[in-house]
Subunit: 310 residues, 5 copies
């Protein structure tokens, strides 16, 4: 038997044994592309903020980023593992950049044109779109905690099964939201770990969560965290707990950077915690594309160095 | 005609006469696998608490249980009849454990990230998933008493019919919930028996309910229980009434153990009541996998001895 | 042309001219089976109370009736035209009793685990289930007057069309319910006649309503009943008006017996009124199976004698 | 090229150029059948009141009308262009009257068993039903102004497209209803004209509205009616405006008679206004079938004479 | 390689590289038809006001416009690039005007017969309708900001994908509406730019928005507009920002004229701003067809001259 991949990649792929060879192939593409290819770590550039927050809030700080070509080129030049975006941004570049970097088509999106206690995104693309555009994976966002989350879970379940049946990889963003959670609770450690578990149980290949705070939101969970003394003082410990919560490290979990405009040193500290805690990588959007291109490339370079263990 | 099975298994299978041979085959697999195989009794290990309660509340008391392989290995080593879990946990082990133990794919799940008076689970898998993963059965949970239960009943009806048409067995969890029931009423004898009846009428092959208390919830029912003097003082009597309520013993009904952290002696007493009352077995989750592995194996060993009539 | 059937059966079948021969065949089976076969009258045994009211309220008064075989055997021994039940009860006997009596699969059901002002049943089976189980007809219940009745009417319309396309007969239970009706109004003559009309317009072959009281519920209707002097003092007159309201006698309308525990003489009086008013028969559930078997057989014997005109 | 039809029929058919020949054929059948055949005017007998208002309110004033055969025979004897009814009434006569008069299957219906501010009908039949029953057209009712009218518009859009694809004609009843309209507004000229326009834009071949009053309901519309001096004092003027509002006379618009129990002279005056205003005809239900048959035939005779221009 | 088109058309088509040749063909038809053909600018005549506002408010100011032929003839005579209308208006002219001008079938519509805080249109046609009627494109309207906008986004996503798969072009009207927006906010610059971004991300080929005011609606956006000094004092600057917000000029964005009854000089000033700001053109409805035909032709002539850069 040939051994094309590094031992770490072989190990990660072994977690997904039983999946279609097509999905394994696309997972391998994501894991072996770019500067971190083969390390088992990933840095993905996602750009859906134009839809999620509006164009000016997203792109005005760095006007070249209004152009859809800007982002995919940045992802390529920085050596990212993949580039993720909604249908419009992917369609705008898929032909010209065909084959240059793995693409992830975000299949649902949400805008902020109305305040909502229990938001729900809108499906805005399809698995068929991902195939025709040459993507390696679909992406989807769930809001664990929102009132009608069952609609999202079921929609995702169906898209996930369809994607797997045609050999795509599946990336799931899990962002706790909704009437039952406090603002602080949305990034609380218990809620973040719970969301990672839900995402894993829903069958996602790759899970994206936010970096968790030490806050505990749910009384029933807090009791266990206290009684079993789960360490949560450092970000590294919290990353480690989230990784544990997603099948004990047997699912790829990546973390989004901190809040917008987090300063560079803080971002690098976060990357160090992701690395040390066993996180599989980082998915950085606004903190990258809102910086001038040179600064963005430098930041991504440093993040990748950290994730390479240097 | 060959007689491969024990008389009790032949009898149980006769209750399902007219079903597809494929479904009978998978029912036979569940009934003949493991240490209790052939006795007509079952012990099933279900692990959906990661989704239902969160990972820390489920696995932190026994950290090896964060790993999806832990549970299926435990089920195999204990000699359980089957292992039941949501999509993620099954996908994580299906290839490596193919053919070692009958698998039950839970097709819907519910989290507790928002308090809900009338909860509804989310369909998170499909009959097609069960087939591709080599499962013997699908599982589904209804909440008799929740406001929109008709959505669940109809979704189950369709999944059940589809599963039967492709030769799978069908397991239905019936957990009374919802705005019309008091907390005590959720395990009341009348409500438990009613839920078992609903599950049987919906066409489930195997029905899972909680062990009932002597409480009677509904006035109209209580009147009959009193006037017809249905015995309900002992747990054995109550198990017996639930079995009677599910087609007079002609449907397989299994019972979940008591509340979390029930002590070992209490659990064994419950097993004795299940046995004596004619229950078909036990489905034990948290009370098993949250114990250290040795204790869990010992507990399951003792439960199985009781169910063997020893 | 051969004349296999009695003139009355030929006449009744002529009301359905233009329907598929398959549906006519199954209608003929219902009309020619059992002791009343050929008279144009029917007595059907329906047993869905386990689902609708719970097992103890239904079966505890006569414990052998917990067993699904009890009912179909009772229907056969009494010489009923057909036996109707939900999926679980039919599946439990279909193979063993194949071909012994026409079966009607009730395709939707409702439980009483939550009080509801505007109830809606759940579809719990399919036309395909009816076919695979060898049934002659599907059954369905509408609640004319419930807020979302349009969901029921449309679901029934689709099931009815599908059943007709595969040659089944279609039985529709019309039980007025919902926020716009008083308790008394649910069995008022105007509302009962209106429900029979709706059922006929929806395309049902056989319509089941409750025996109406002399109460008039809706002011606009009451005005007409008064101005046109529709007789309604006796039950016979009221039966006659309901028959008239269902296409002037050109649709089969059968009536359920009175309230639970109606005494035997009252039940026989009701049968006399059904006969005299031109009703097509009786559908008796609880008043039959909650009696000891001998009493039940005797009661059905007497009802059938009345419907034979003896 | 052969000229089978009168110039007026040729002209009307030219308005539908581009439609499937099947639909044109059925439109031609409606326009050329009966006493008014070839004049470009129509009188249609619709009988859905049994469902919409209940049997006693509909048929008790003229008891023979409880029989479904009564109506189609009346329509034939009077020389109507077509007969329209819900599924039950059509199924009850389709075989015996096959080919004797064009049939219109009403595909949705609504009962009055609950008061509703924003009513919605229920789809109670299908295009496939219309085909198997030999109908020339489907009928559907929208309630412009009801809160969820978009559900109706979209359901109609799909049924309309399906009907056209199989060569049926499409008749749309447009009855303004709902929380945003006053009782008076439901027949106001602006609202009636608006409803006719909506029906035409939705693609209906034939549009049925009520005769409008001079009332103007919507302030924004009233301003234009005043500023552009749209004549609306006489019924003729109002009919003319509605015809103009439905593609300037290039869609067939027919009008229902006045309120129930309108006296004969008033009905004939209405027919004169329809004729003079360029209306395509009249659709008369209760005012016809609630009269004794002789009176009904006489009334229809007189209406048709008026619509013939005599 | 042949170069059939002008360099500007080649450039615009290059933005859509990767789309089906069928869709590119129809985009090219829209861009090369009429007087502005080849300039990269478009003027489209849309007439859906009969449905959206009612016939009198739309057509009474210029009565010949009640006739569906009026509009398509006007669009042809004025040299417009395309004519857009709902199903009824397109069906009424598609056969007689086949091939004379590109047609856009509006697939959803909304009436104003009930005041709604959070409106939703109704799908009133299909992609299949567009094909059978010889259209070059489908049109659809979203209301960014309305509560259930996710239903619209997903419906559009599916129609858009279907249209692309059969080689049609896709035009998306983005009209901010709903409970979260003030009246002024519906045309605010931030909200307009956001809507254009959403439309682009949803995959529309051509986007239609209203001309924006200088108002900023959302606090989070306003902060960025201020901090990054986005120019917005002149209409030209605002048009330019919207174009930038739709993929930096790489999606065709056209603008509707100002409010109804805007005077001629103001309309021409708006056209100048569209031209100067890099807008792709203008979509003018009421301001055209409510003028007498000669005035309308003169106005369109002047607008086109401006968009030609004369």
């Amino acid at each position: 038997m040939s051994t094309r991949f590094t031992p770490r990649i072989e190990e990660i792929l072994s977690y997904y044994r039983g999946q279609n060879p097509g999905s394994l192939t696309n997972l391998a593409r994501l894991l072996t592309h770019g500067r971190l290819g083969g390390t088992g770590r990933l840095v993905i550039l996602p750009v859906d903020q134009g839809f999620e927050h509006g164009p000016a809030r997203s792109f005005a700080p760095n006007p070249p980023s209004y152009d859809p070509r800007y982002h995919v080129q940045l992802a390529i030049d920085a050596g990212c593992n993949a580039y993720a975006a909604p249908l419009g941004f992917i369609e705008a570049i898929a032909a010209d950049y065909a084959g240059q970097i793995p693409l992830i088509l975000k299949l649902n999106n949400h805008d902020v044109l109305q305040d909502e206690k229990d938001p729900l995104g809108a499906r805005s693309g399809s698995v068929q779109d991902a195939l025709r555009l040459g993507c390696s994976a679909i992406g989807y966002t769930i809001y664990p905690g929102t009132a009608d989350r069952r609609l999202q879970y079921t929609e995702f379940a169906d898209l996930c099964a369809e994607a797997k049946s045609v050999g795509l990889a599946v990336v799931l963003w899990a962002y706790p939201r909704g009437g039952g959670l406090s603002k602080e609770g949305e990034t609380g450690l218990d809620v973040t770990a719970y969301s990672a578990q839900i995402a894993a149980q829903l069958g996602a290949h790759i899970i994206k969560v936010k970096l968790p705070s030490a806050h505990l939101e749910q009384a029933a969970a807090a009791k266990i965290y206290e009684s079993t003394s789960i360490p949560r003082d450092t970000l590294t410990e919290r990353v480690s707990h989230v990784i544990q919560s997603a099948f004990n490290g047997r699912r790829i979990v990546i973390f989004s950077g901190g809040a917008l405009n987090t300063d560079r040193d803080a971002l690098l500290d976060e990357a160090r915690a992701i690395y040390a805690g066993g996180g599989f990588g980082s998915i950085m959007g606004r903190n990258v594309f809102q910086r001038p291109r040179d600064e963005a490339l430098a930041l991504l370079n440093d993040v990748m160095s950290i994730l390479e263990g240097k």
